[in-house]
């Protein structure tokens, strides 16, 4: 395994911030650690970057990181050197290694070309947009051929409409450069888009670690499921009215439910909120109020509807 974290524990003033965190990262993999604010994500990143030491546990790399192949952390605020141009920022790590000027120029311009920043080479960080600064920061890290790239909240300082685009760009860049990357974020959609595997940290514990779809559709517990998105807990009469299958207690995501207008249906639409590419319906059914995403004619407040758990999502929607 390329990288292993084993039983990492970190305490601040006796209070554990991380508890017994264990996971592996394969070479060339893109991993995201997600979790609510204060869950210990950034602390985990600092431990891996070597900026802090764990109180217990160990970090193991296949090959020990060196000055030639370091672990590079890209901070949330990008931390570009304000007195240097874009070119000088990206060249900083190479110049620290005393590489020939012509080689530095070639490598820096290659990176700037890839990131679409060649025409910004002589500009200063304050002349760039947030997205451009982020690309400079990532390029500055990638140009030194890192063993592992760590991204701290890569979407935190971006406009909403840029986040998904950036996630795709990071994913593409990671594949192109083949660098093993670990990011921590609380932007779920972006994490799902760009990651091979996802880890969910809650209250300092890594409660789940696996493929994106498994994490999303098979959360380990209700709290994890709720963090990952809106959730309906169905049981008793409500569950019987929406499914012939499972019994007991079932957690179903709004998008795993189908909604159709039905004069004799058991549900009534209590509320409909337009949310862009879908409408969010609150439906009263079997004494419960559930949330369903959908679109369609006749789906208006007061309309009677039938609700079904979509067959292909029954198993994955079950907790």
């Amino acid at each position: 395994m390329f990288f292993q974290a084993r039983g990492l524990t970190r305490r601040y003033g006796g209070t554990p911030v991380l508890r017994d965190v264990t996971f592996d990262v394969k070479q060339g993999e893109m991993v995201s650690i997600i979790g609510p604010s204060g869950a210990g994500k950034t602390t985990l990143l600092k431990l891996i970057a070597g900026l802090e030491r764990p109180d217990e546990g160990a970090l193991r790399f296949d090959t020990t990181p060196t000055r030639e192949n370091p672990v590079i952390l890209v901070f949330q605020d990008y931390v570009l050197f304000p007195n240097m141009t874009v070119f000088d920022n990206v060249a900083f790590g190479l110049r620290s290694r005393r590489i020939a000027k012509s080689e530095i120029r070639r490598r820096v311009m290659d990176v700037l070309d890839y990131f679409g920043l060649a025409d910004k080479a002589d500009q200063y960080p304050n002349e760039l947009s947030g997205g451009q600064r982020q690309r400079v920061a990532i390029g500055r890290g990638l140009v030194v051929n890192p063993m592992m790239l760590l991204l701290d909240e890569p979407f935190a300082n971006l406009d909403r409409n840029l986040k998904l685009q950036t996630a795709e760009f990071i994913r593409e860049t990671q594949r192109t450069f083949g660098v093993t990357t670990l990011s921590v974020t609380h932007d779920l959609e972006e994490a799902f888009v760009m990651s091979d595997r996802i880890g969910l940290i809650m209250d300092g514990e890594l409660v789940q670690y696996g493929r994106s779809k498994d994490i999303y559709f098979n959360p380990v517990h209700d709290e994890a499921a709720r963090f990952l998105g809106p959730l309906n807990i169905l049981e008793g009469e409500a569950l019987r009215l929406v499914s012939d299958g499972p019994t007991g207690r079932v957690a179903v995501r709004p998008e795993a439910l189908g909604l159709t207008v039905d004069e004799n249906g058991p549900g009534i639409i209590a509320e409909a909120v337009f949310a862009g590419h879908f409408t969010r319906f609150a439906v009263d059914i079997g004494g419960e109020r559930i949330v369903v995403y959908g679109n369609g004619p006749g789906l208006v407040p007061g309309a009677r509807v039938s609700v079904r758990i979509l067959d292909e999502l029954i198993k994955k929607g079950t907790v």
Binding site: A49, L51, R67, P70, V71, I72, L73, F75, D77, V79, L80, F81, P82, N83, M84, F92, G93, S96, R97, Y124, P125, N126, E127, R133, R140, G141, V144
Partner: protein, 292 residues
């Protein structure tokens, strides 16, 4: 137009507590010095030429005195800024509890210059603490063999006193600037493989540069023109310019007063020229400092 004029008038009125003393004492004093250097407003009948006092400045003694003043000011201000900026960075990097303890660096700031001069005398004179320690440690056979640190003609005593007093001043200003610097800049530079000296020179120093330039100008001008430390630790030949002025004005003939005033006028003009030249050179050398 009249509104703007009234506004300017009100501003001048508000600034008058500062402007009036400045105009009377500083500008008035300067005008008097220039006038006396040209032979006007003197307490005796002046029969010399208008620029005789300035011609007197071209003597070897006066030129050597100016050179010594320049040398002492450049070396002491340069050393203070160099050492002070490194120490400020060192303090900034200390853990928080030690950072608070490092406040002891401010002690020399509250000492008057005259006290610092005595400290240097006590430590570095032939019969001082350091020579006695060197003798007892067996480094010198007798106290007489201890090298002349003070009064040896190279201004070392004055430089020691100035640096002792001015290093904390530099730390104070540089540390205030560092407190506003993002520590992640240093972390990032180290992660990218930069050595400690490179981090300091390429990341930290540019952040402090503007303040260090100002500090250098203040310290240079003070050392260039100050009287108290040269009076106690300076040599007589050549003496610092301030000592030459003192001697010419108080200890010699009344007829020497125009020369004393000519030195003061030239020192003032040189100070203005130095500020202009330094800021111009610093601006050209410094890359564009940008804030994110």
């Amino acid at each position: 137009m009249s509104c703007a004029r009234a506004g300017t008038g009100r501003t001048l009125l508000k600034l008058s507590p500062l402007l009036v003393p400045l105009a009377l004492l500083f500008a008035g004093g300067l005008a008097l010095a220039v006038a006396q250097s040209l032979g006007y407003m003197l307490p005796f009948d002046y029969h010399g030429g208008r620029f005789d006092a300035y011609a007197n400045l071209l003597t070897e003694r006066c030129i050597k005195s100016a050179a010594l003043s320049l040398y002492v000011a450049v070396v002491s201000a340069g050393l203070s800024v160099a050492v002070g900026s490194v120490l400020a960075y060192g303090i900034w990097r200390l853990p928080e509890r030690l950072e608070r303890a490092a406040i002891v660096y401010k002690v020399p700031l509250i000492l008057p210059h005259i006290a610092v001069a005595f400290i240097v005398l006590i430590f570095w004179s032939k019969s001082g603490v350091v020579s006695a320690a060197a003798y007892h440690a067996g480094l010198v056979a007798s106290i007489d063999q201890f090298p002349s640190v003070l009064f040896s003609g190279n201004g070392l005593g004055m430089i020691l006193a100035y640096t002792y007093k001015e290093i904390p001043f530099t730390i104070l200003l540089a540390y205030a600037v560092l407190k506003r610097m993002d520590p992640q800049l240093v972390t990032t530079a180290s992660m990218l493989g930069a050595s400690e000296p490179r981090v300091f020179l390429r990341v930290v120093l540019p952040h402090m540069a503007k303040t260090l330039h100002t500090t250098f100008i203040i310290l240079f001008l003070y050392s260039f023109g100050a009287f108290d430390i040269p009076f106690l630790l300076g040599e007589s030949t050549p003496g610092m310019l301030s000592i030459e002025v003192y001697n010419l004005y108080f200890r010699r003939e009344l007829a020497d007063r125009p020369t004393a005033m000519a030195i003061l006028t030239c020192m003032f003009l040189f100070s203005l020229f130095f500020i202009w030249l330094y800021t111009r050179v610093a601006k050209q050398m410094q890359p564009r400092e940008r804030k994110l």
